[in-house]
C-alpha cells in the first residue's frame, strides 16, 4: 500500500507538471490583464487568488462551488474518457436543478428519502437531456458537440417556461424562482452560514466510485480502450456503442446531479439563470485535472477558489468577474496544447 502511494507520488509530479505549468502561465496572463486594466492591480490580484481564504464564510462558499465543479468536471471527464465530448453540461445542470426542486416538493416521502429522490430525479433529468445527442452520435455518427450545445441553449428556455407556466413560481420573489424548500428537504449545511453542504461528500464519494469503476472494473477498462483505441476495442469484441452510451448517460446524470445539488444543497430553490457557467467550467476542470479522479477534485477546488476570489475582486477593486472566464479559455488552450513542443520550436534545443 505504502509502496503504491510512493510510486503514485512520483508519477503524480510527472502527471501534474503540465497542469501546474498551464496554471502558472495562465495566472501570469491574468496578472498582466489585471495590471493593464486596474488602478489597484495588487489589491485586485491578491483578492482574486486569496479571496476564498479570507474567512470561514468565503472558504465555505469555495467548498460549495467546488462541490458543483467536482460533479460537472466529473461529468465532462466520464465523457472524455470514452471519447464523448459532452459540451452541454450547462443544459443538463438546468434541467437537473428544476427537476430536483419539483420532486423534492411533490414526493410524498419522509424527508431523507425525498432528498434522495430529488437527487436521483436530477440525475434522470440530466441523462434524459443528453439522450438525443447520445443516440445521434452512437447510431448516426453525428458529432455530439453541436447537438449537446444546442440542447444546452434549449434547457434554460424550457425550465423558465415551466417555472412561469407550471405553477412553480414564487409570487413574492422579484426574480423568477421557485418557493424555497422547507428546511427538512435541504441537504444539511457545513460551515454554516456559508452554502457549503453535504453535497460535497456526495461529490467526493462519486469521485471515488469513478476511480473504482475506471481502475478496477471491466467497464472502466473498456471505457478507456474505447476512448483511446476504438478500432482495437472493436477487434477485442467490445461493444463500442454500448460503452459509449453508458458514458454519455453517466455524464448527463452527473451534470444533472450537479444541478440538483445546487437546488437542494446550495440555493434551496430554482432560480432563473442561476449558473455562472458551471457546465462549461466543468470542461475546464476536467482538462486541468487531466481526467484523473484526484486531479478533478484539485482542479475543482482551485476553480472554486477563483470563482469566490473573482466575486470578491469585483467588489473590492475595479477588475470585473469576467477575468475568470478569460482565464478559463486560456487554460483550455494551455491544458490541451503541447507546451513542451512549443518551447522546443520557439527556443530551439532538444
Amino acid at each position: 500500500m505504502l509502496e503504491r502511494l510512493r510510486n503514485a507520488g512520483v508519477s503524480a509530479w510527472a502527471v501534474s507538471r503540465p497542469s501546474l505549468l498551464a496554471i502558472t502561465i495562465s495566472l501570469t496572463i491574468s496578472f498582466v490583464i489585471v495590471v493593464a486594466v486596474s488602478e489597484q492591480p495588487v489589491v485586485a490580484f491578491r483578492t482574486f487568488l486569496g479571496g476564498a481564504f479570507e474567512n470561514v464564510y468565503s472558504f465555505g462558499s469555495m467548498l460549495s462551488i467546488a462541490t458543483i465543479l467536482i460533479l460537472s468536471g466529473l461529468a465532462a471527464t466520464v465523457g472524455f474518457r470514452a471519447g464523448a465530448f459532452n459540451a452541454g453540461g450547462e443544459g443538463q445542470i438546468y434541467v437537473g436543478a428544476l427537476m430536483a426542486v419539483v420532486v423534492a416538493q411533490a414526493a410524498p416521502l419522509p424527508p431523507p428519502l425525498a432528498i434522495t429522490a430529488a437527487l436521483m430525479a436530477g440525475m434522470v433529468a440530466g441523462a434524459i437531456w443528453i439522450l438525443v445527442p447520445a443516440l445521434m452520435r452512437v447510431y448516426l455518427g453525428i458529432a455530439e458537440i453541436v447537438t449537446t450545445l444546442m440542447a444546452s441553449y434549449i434547457a434554460p428556455l424550457l425550465t423558465i417556461y415551466l417555472l412561469m407556466n407550471g405553477g412553480l413560481r414564487n409570487p413574492n420573489a422579484g426574480v423568477p424562482e421557485t418557493v424555497r424548500l422547507v428546511p427538512e428537504l435541504r441537504l444539511p449545511r457545513i460551515l454554516s452560514p456559508s452554502s457549503a453542504n453535504w453535497g460535497l461528500f456526495i461529490a467526493l464519494a462519486l469521485v471515488v466510485a469513478y476511480w473504482i469503476v475506471l481502475e478496477r472494473t471491466r467497464l472502466g477498462m473498456r471505457m478507456k480502450l474505447v476512448g483511446q483505441q476504438p478500432s482495437f476495442a472493436e477487434t477485442m469484441g467490445i461493444d463500442n456503442k454500448r460503452v459509449l452510451l453508458v458514458s454519455f448517460f453517466a455524464s448527463g446524470a452527473l451534470a444533472g446531479l450537479a444541478g440538483a445539488i445546487v437546488s437542494v444543497g446550495m440555493d434551496h430553490r430554482f432560480i432563473q439563470s442561476f449558473s455562472p457557467g458551471y457546465g462549461f467550467l466543468g470542461i475546464t476542470v476536467a482538462l486541468i485535472g487531466r481526467l484523473s479522479p484526484l486531479g478533478v477534485i484539485l482542479a475543482a477546488l482551485l476553480y472554486g477558489a477563483l470563482v469566490v476570489g473573482a466575486g470578491k475582486m469585483q467588489t473590492a477593486s475595479d477588475v470585473p468577474f469576467a477575468l475568470l472566464f478569460v482565464l478559463q479559455g486560456v487554460l483550455v488552450f494551455l491544458m490541451t496544447g503541447n507546451l513542451a513542443a512549443v518551447g522546443r520550436r520557439l527556443f530551439g534545443g532538444r
Partner: protein, 309 residues
Amino acid sequence: MFGLDTFIATAVSASAPIVATAVGGAFAERARCTNIGMEGMMLMGAFTALSVSVISGSAWLGLLAGIAVGALGGVFLSVAVHLLTCDIIIAGIGFNMMVSGVTLLLIDVFHGESGTWAPTRPPLLPRIDLGAYADTPLIGLFLHGQSVLVLVILAVVVLAWIVESRSRFGRHIRAVGDNLEAVVAAGLNPTVLRTTTLAISGATAGLGGSFLAISALGVFAADMSGGLGFIALAAVIFAGASVVRSALVAVLFGLSVAFATQFQSSGLPVQFVLMTPYVATILGLLLVGVRRRSSGNPPIINPTSPIQH
C-alpha cells in the same frame, strides 16, 4: 397581425448572420478545419464592430474592423491548432470561452457595464431604400428596409461560390481536405492553406457578428451571438461543406425563426419561439445522420481525446 412582408423581413434578418458565418465555415470545413470557434469569432466581430463604429463615428469602419478581428480570431485558432497542437474542436470551445470572457471584461472596463453595452446613438449601417420600387414583387419584399449588410452578405456568397468553384485556391482547399499527400507533393503548405481557410471563416463570422451589432440596434450584449455560430456550423455540416448549399441551409434555419415568430402572435410562448433555431438545428443534423445511414455509409465514430501527451 402578421403579414407576409413582416414574415419575410424577419426571415431575412434572422438568416443573414447565419448565412454569412456559414459561407466561410464551409471553406474551413472543406479543408478539414471544423471551426467551432465561429461562435466566438461572431461575438468578437460584434463587439469590435460596435466599438469601432462608436469611436470612429463610421459604421463602415466598424464593419471592416469586425471582419478583420474575426479573421485574426481564425488565425489565433490556427496557431493554437498548429503550433500548440491543440485538438481543433476543444481549442474552438476554449476560444469561445475566452472571447466571451474578454468581451465581458472589456465592456466592464471601458463602459462600466456588466452584460449589456448600449451606447447612445451609435452609428448604424444604412438601410436599403428602394424608393419607388419598394413594392416590386420579390426584390422589394426581400430587400426594402433591410440593412445594406444583407447586400454585402449576398455579394460574399457569390464571391465565395466563385472562389470555391472557379479558382485555384478553391481547388487547393479541396485538395487539403481530400488528399493531403498530393498537396505536400505539389509543394503547397497545408498549414498555410488551413490557416487561410480559418481566417476566411473568421472574417465571415466577424461579418455575421457585425450584422448583429450594427445593422439594427447598435447594442452589444454578453454572448449575443446566442449559438448562431454553432447553428452556422450545423448548416455547413448539413450541406456537406458546399458554399451555396451551406448558405441555403442557413436560410432554412433563419426561416424556422420567422415561422416561430409568426406563431407567437397565435399564442406560442416566447420561450418556444426562442428555442426554435436550436431545435431546428438538432432536427437538421438528425436528417443528415438518417440520410447518411440510409445511403449505406456507416456512422463514423471519432473519439475526442483532449489529453494527448
